[in-house]
Symmetry: C2
Subunit: 186 residues, 2 copies
């Protein structure tokens, strides 16, 4: 693993534990086993590091969901793939998901270009539009449907993280709550 990767990993761990602030760059470098000044060779400012980390994790998640639904053609199966892929990724990468939440509701978010924000949600939006056109999904503003799905996913993740469930129990929750969601939007 190269030093850049090490820095991102160290930053993630510390940011989630202490917050963006209360995490000096010196601690990040220390945790990564890298000299203080070297951090600024890879990331010109601390803000750049924070944003790079966010974008990196977002790409990882997107890659994982895309991979999961690759072979699906049916809309319901695709949506379910999206849903469970997101949740299993979130469970496997809890600190990553927590960091993304934290970032999402911070003023940092507005520092990112609109384009970079849209890039990863575009596929899901297209899926919804198609489903609506085919009269499978309720005829509502597609943004409402989208926001409902996000909120649902987000909150079930909170639940799964809070409870200590076995893998089969987790799968059952994911399965059952997807049905609730699907019934709501169709």
């Amino acid at each position: 693993m190269d030093k850049k990767e090490k820095l991102l990993q160290a930053a993630l761990k510390l940011f989630v534990e202490f917050g963006f602030h209360n995490t000096p760059t010196s601690k990040i470098a220390l945790e990564a086993g890298i000299a203080n000044g070297t951090l600024f060779y890879f990331f010109p400012t601390k803000d750049d590091l924070v944003k790079a980390l966010y974008l990196d994790l977002k790409s990882q998640l997107a890659a994982h969901t895309a991979e999961t639904i690759r072979d699906q053609t049916d809309l319901r199966a695709m949506m379910q793939g999206y849903y469970s892929a997101t949740l299993t990724w979130a469970l496997k990468n809890r600190t990553a998901f927590r960091f993304m939440q934290q970032f999402n509701s911070s003023p940092y978010l507005h520092q990112l270009a609109e384009e970079e924000m849209q890039k990863h949600i575009r596929p899901l939006l297209s899926l919804l539009e198609k489903g609506m056109h085919d009269k499978i999904i309720k005829q509502m503003d597609v943004d409402i449907i989208f926001t409902l799905i996000s909120g649902h996913t987000f909150s079930i993740n909170q639940y799964l993280v809070a409870k200590q469930l076995t893998k089969p129990e987790q799968d059952k929750v994911i399965h059952d709550t997807f049905n609730l969601l699907w019934d709501m939007i169709t």
Copy 2:
């Protein structure tokens, strides 16, 4: 308005714009029209100010929802009251709601006593348990139902804030999405 109130208000405004960090106490005092040192007379530390602000806003919201559903007896009407009261409060107090989101997904949250966290959600939880006992609400873990309601409310707020809707349009969205929610949990 007393100085303490002025400080809370100034802090709210600046925290939402710049984040907890990137908002020095000096700026807060300046915005409140109060001397730097005086801030520490009211709040021993900056953290105390942050936490006090959160608790204060949470109480305001709770008071508003409680007031709204006071005369309701029917479960559905009470739930709808809760839902729309929360959303209208959030729309009227956007910065307040944004701050609470920010706080909720920050490490600060863990510094608050469990008791203080539970205090305001207890009434809603009781309502749900009663509804489940009366077989109105689906027989699931009550925490799932609760988290679903929170997530739903949260995400519809995001939607309402993002879109620029007229009051009647807002009311329609709130009405329609409550029906979706209610159908999902009953």
